[in-house]
Amino acid sequence: MPIAALRARLERLGGTVTSHVWRLGFASRFLFYLVVHSGTALRRFRLTIAEVYFAGVLSLVIILVSGLFVGMVLALQGYETLQRFGASESLGVLVALSLVRELGPVVAGLLFASRAGSAITAEIGLMKATEQISAMEMMAVDPIARVVAPRFWGGVLSMPLLAALFSAMGIFGGYLIGVQLIGVDAGAFWSQMQAAVDWNKDILNGVIKSVVFGVAVTWIAVFEGYDATPTAEGVSRATTRTVVTSSLAILALDFILTALMFTGGNGK
């Protein structure tokens, strides 16, 4: 029966869409509840500090090393192209603007999602699988206030700092390659960079981006962990979903934020 088959397909399509919308709504309500009940995380700030340690400090090595190498590669590649137009002194501008505006927040966000986001999901998912979350509820301790909120705020606080360190390290890497190895004039490297990079337009927008990515990644991570099927397989799938969803979210949000930030100038 073609009509019955068509009906079944349409039903399946509708079901998929509805369940996705329902999940999004659930995640939003989860975020709202989390923010409202984060009093404990802020009052007992030591809980949040411990999570800053796990999400931020332990991500330092990968962030710093990646930043250094991204900056060095930018300088090498940028020099190849710029010297063709006799503009190799603009290398500092190229390295600084691409890092501060885009690569710093985005690459740091992607690394943060895979390094810290997946760890948060796995931890919360395993707590759920081993019924520690249910045990807390039995003891009248709100698991969202005690377990989820400190991890959320720890991630949100860490992300902008990590992105700033990534950009600073990348510019240092660009300086190492551009000035020390290739021999671009150090004065021109810094002064052209300082003339072209604007505090409000470039650096502050980069910081805003990193804050938005931090909220998005840790929100996805804690939600996927809390929502995971409490089995070994369920936790592993939730961890994968965290990395995939938050990476896609970072790239999509980056496009939207860039479109809002860097095209509203009326050509001025």
């Binding site: 500090i49 931020g56 400090v57 330092l60 600084a96 700092l161 300082q194 003339a195 505090w199």
Partner: protein
């Protein structure tokens, strides 16, 4: 890992993060050199054509940065561009100073060059510069050159 070690590392991390941000602000963004506390006075100049001049473009005199372009508007009456410049109060210029729109290098950015005149009275806030020279438009220059060439080519036939 005990408490104080965690606290120490978080402290180092936060301090390093802010140091990175400070580095971006001061060394990369050069926030310190033109801060909000700096005092300046505003002068205006009319140009027939500003070329590619942009807001925040440098204002230089003898190659030294003395201010920045604050605003660019179009004058509906004279059909000219009005460029407002913020000039650092540390630098005073005579009233008959000339403003030119110049280009740094062949393909570089455009900036306003000030050439001091000989008047004893100094510029003050809100003054307007009378002597201006518009940006050089490359297309006009090339077409002028081509017309001259064409005219030269015809002469022997006359």
């Amino acid at each position: 890992m005990n408490r104080s070690t965690i606290d120490l590392w978080v402290g180092i991390f936060v301090a390093a993060g802010f140091a990175g941000l400070l580095f971006l602000a001061l060394k990369v963004g050069n926030l310190a050199s033109f801060s909000l506390t700096q005092t300046y006075y505003q002068v205006q100049a009319k140009f027939g054509n500003i070329g590619g001049l942009k807001v925040r473009a440098p204002v230089k005199s003898a190659g030294v940065l003395v201010g920045r372009v604050a605003d660019i508007r179009f004058d509906n009456e004279s059909y000219e561009a009005i460029v407002t410049m913020n000039i650092d109060t540390a630098y005073q210029f005579p009233r008959d100073t000339a403003a030119k729109i110049l280009t740094s290098g062949i393909l570089g950015e455009q900036y306003v060059g000030l050439e001091a005149g000989g008047d004893g009275v100094m510029l003050k806030n809100g003054d307007r510069l009378r002597l201006t020279q518009s940006a050089v438009v490359l297309e006009n220059l090339i077409s002028q050159f081509l017309f001259n060439k064409a005219a030269e080519g015809k002469e022997p036939a006359k």
